[in-house]
């Protein structure tokens, strides 16, 4: 196996203006050490062989590229394929990256890993590889998310990780990330910070992209076998920090004939509500967690909390490479509201018997708008980044709440 060589970032970790290393000086030597180690091991045959071995035997790769025949027929347009990252061990694409970083951690001789998590998918994934590799593991999670995602907290603890509940700020992913960085600043000599998305200071966005690009590389091969061509007409993926999207976009982004690359951000209650996570759609250039990117902040530069029905998408920033893609028009970024995502969730469940993660349901919902406008000989690939088991309780709660308020509305109308 070999990891791809993309033209970006530059030697300073920049994608145009985006990226970089905006971190306390204490971390700079560690980031330099990590960059050197990563550049070395990404070309080391022994490392790549081990990575490939675990991807195949432990994660279950390659994941299928499934032709969604019922969905295609229902929507009446382009042929729709689902890249089944939901079938990975631990239930999402996250493991592609955590496995790679954990192997790197071992090669660098570090015994302890730190991670942050929102909904818990990245935390579970890190706890999993830490158990596999025999590494000590501490996961930071916002107190609000610890409450909402009790089952994933229990999973992480079963896997031997220590979960630390973060009480500061908005008590969600943003604050868990601050806390993980603080731990890393304190224990930088013996700890490895496994970042869960294509965010953070250089080399993290590049490293996570490279480990996730296995998704897009497989799509090319699989599509060639099924459709006789490696490049689809459109690729759709949800975007929070953006790791599943970059994984499926990157192998296409730098080729000459590019498909439409469409990143779907969480529009929450809508653009005008301020309850959304439209970092590209409504954000400006700013710095959070060590990198310059599109970011939601007020006129004083204070970071604004993001909202989405999906805990995996409510992050106020987006990876620097996505920011670059958006600025240069390499990819398009659109928004899907909470309501539309729930419809996408139900649509895939009923037509294909697959419960998608609420994150991925945003991509499904956008495909449902796009596919009917396309021709039947055209092909859409949707990255189904994770499975919906973790979201079933939340979906039930939201749907019941809505049914309740609708019933109430009917009663009051009746009275009037």
């Amino acid at each position: 196996m070999q990891l791809p060589n993309y033209p970006l970032p530059d030697s300073r970790g920049r994608y145009g203006d985006f990226g970089g290393r905006y971190v306390p000086e204490t971390l700079i030597p560690a980031l330099e050490e990590l960059t050197a180690a990563y550049l070395h091991f990404k070309h080391d045959p022994g490392f790549l062989e081990e990575y490939e071995y675990y991807l195949k035997e432990y994660v279950g790769r390659p994941t299928p590229l499934y032709f969604a025949e019922n969905l295609t027929r229902h929507l009446g347009g382009a042929r729709i394929y689902l890249k089944r990252e939901d079938l990975n061990h631990t239930g999402a694409h996250k493991i592609n990256n955590t496995l790679g970083q954990a192997l790197l951690c071992k090669r660098m001789g570090k015994r302890r890993v730190i991670a942050e998590t929102g909904a818990g998918q990245h935390g579970v994934s890190v706890a999993t590889v830490a158990a596999l590799m025999g590494l000590e593991c501490v996961v930071y999670q916002g107190a609000e998310d610890v409450r909402r995602q009790a089952l994933n907290v229990f999973r992480m603890r079963l896997l031997g990780a220590e979960v630390r509940s973060v009480e500061s700020g908005t008590k969600t992913l943003k604050d868990a990330t601050n806390e993980a960085i603080r731990d890393w600043v304190t224990n930088v000599r013996d700890s490895f910070y496994i970042i869960g998305s294509v965010v953070g200071p250089h080399p993290y966005p590049a490293m996570a992209r490279d480990f996730q690009s296995v998704v897009g590389e497989e799509v090319k091969q699989q599509l060639l076998a099924k459709e006789g061509r490696a490049t689809p007409d459109a690729v759709i993926a949800c975007v929070g920090g953006g790791s599943n999207a970059i994984g499926v976009f990157a192998p296409f982004a730098y080729q000459e004939e590019r498909p439409r690359l469409i990143g779907v951000e969480a529009a929450g209650h809508g653009l005008t509500s301020s309850m959304h996570a439209l970092s590209i759609g409504a954000g400006r250039k700013g710095v959070l967690h060590g990198a310059m990117m599109y970011l939601l902040y007020d006129e004083d530069g204070q970071i604004q909390p993001a909202h989405s029905v999906s805990a995996g998408l409510d992050y106020p920033g987006v990876g620097p490479e996505h920011s670059y893609f958006a600025e240069r028009g390499i990819a398009e970024y659109v928004g899907i509201t909470d309501d539309e995502a729930l419809e996408g969730f139900k649509l895939l469940a009923r037509l294909e018997g697959i419960l998608p993660a609420l994150e991925s349901a945003h991509a499904i919902a956008y495909a449902a708008k796009l596919a009917p406008e396309m021709d039947p000989e055209q092909v859409i690939v949707i990255n189904l980044s994770g499975r919906g088991d973790k979201d079933v309780v939340e979906v039930m709660r939201v749907l019941e709440e809505r049914r309740g308020s609708r019933a109430e509305g009917q009663v009051s109308q009746g009275v009037a």
Binding site: N178, V185, L288, D300, Q302
Partner: protein, 260 residues
């Protein structure tokens, strides 16, 4: 008074310079000014915090203060006003400490110009290594502001060589690998770190992170030209204690004759 003069005056008195930290808007607008008046007699140089939503270089005490200041509705314009008020009280050097995003939000030129004309002497940006954005550092200098950057126990000689020349105010040396916060004692090896730094700059070197008592101050004074005290002051206020006794203890620790 220039920053250099402030350090020299402390040295002439046989001690390391004392740099207390007060956050604008904490505990509220008037409370911050009251705290400032109390610490002012002890200060050689002042550090004024601009509260930020995601202060990832700071420990829990300063983060709590930031959250409270923001809850009180503290805006950038209020911090500017605070700096103006402080400037009417003293001619001591005054460094504004904040993170890079509030600077970007305002627009760097506008931010630098506004704080310079309000009376700030310099800037401390803990999440901006100077080589990350040299143009921005030049803009700060062009606006007439001094810049102070951080160096840490993990800093290699190459990093020290890169960062030190940009410290036109003073060098802010982080005593530990970690975030801000009071500690019982400082780690060994500080004098060696400061010696390594002094090979690459003639700017004064101050030690921050963990200064809270006479003994930690004495450790800092044995190694460097100054000491920053921040979390210990906010903690004293949180606990309803006066800040003067804390400052008095630290000041005593900064006198050098005991260690000579």
């Amino acid at each position: 008074m220039t920053t250099r003069e402030a350090f020299e005056r402390a040295a002439a008195e046989g001690r390391a310079a004392l740099i207390p930290y007060v956050m604008a808007g904490y505990p509220d607008a008037t409370g911050a000014l009251e705290l400032l008046r109390r610490v002012l007699p002890f200060a050689d140089v002042l550090e004024i915090g601009l509260p930020y939503s995601d202060p990832l270089g700071d420990g829990p005490v300063i983060q709590r203060a930031s959250e409270q200041a923001l809850r009180q509705g503290t805006r950038q314009k209020d911090v500017l006003e605070f700096v103006r008020q402080v400037r009417t009280l003293t001619d001591k050097p005054l460094f504004v400490m904040t993170y890079i995003n509030p600077v970007i939000a305002a627009g760097p030129e506008r931010f630098f110009e506004a704080f310079r004309s309000a009376g700030a002497t310099g800037l401390i940006l803990p999440d901006l290594p100077p080589d990350e954005d040299l143009a921005l550092v030049e803009k700060a200098h062009a606006a007439g502001l001094e810049t102070t950057f951080l160096l840490a126990p993990t800093s290699t000689d190459a990093r020290i060589r890169t960062v030190a020349p940009f410290c036109t105010g003073f060098v802010y040396t982080v005593s530990v690998t970690g975030v801000t916060g009071a500690r019982d004692r400082l780690p060994e090896g500080l004098p060696e770190l400061v010696q390594r730094i002094k090979q690459h700059t003639d700017a004064p070197v101050a030690i921050g992170f963990g200064i809270s008592s006479r003994s930690t101050a004495a450790q800092a004074a044995r190694a460097a030209d100054g000491a920053v005290i921040a979390s210990a002051l906010i903690r004293a206020h949180e606990e309803g204690r006066a800040v003067e006794p804390v400052l008095e203890e630290v000041r005593l620790g900064l006198f050098r004759q005991a260690s000579v």
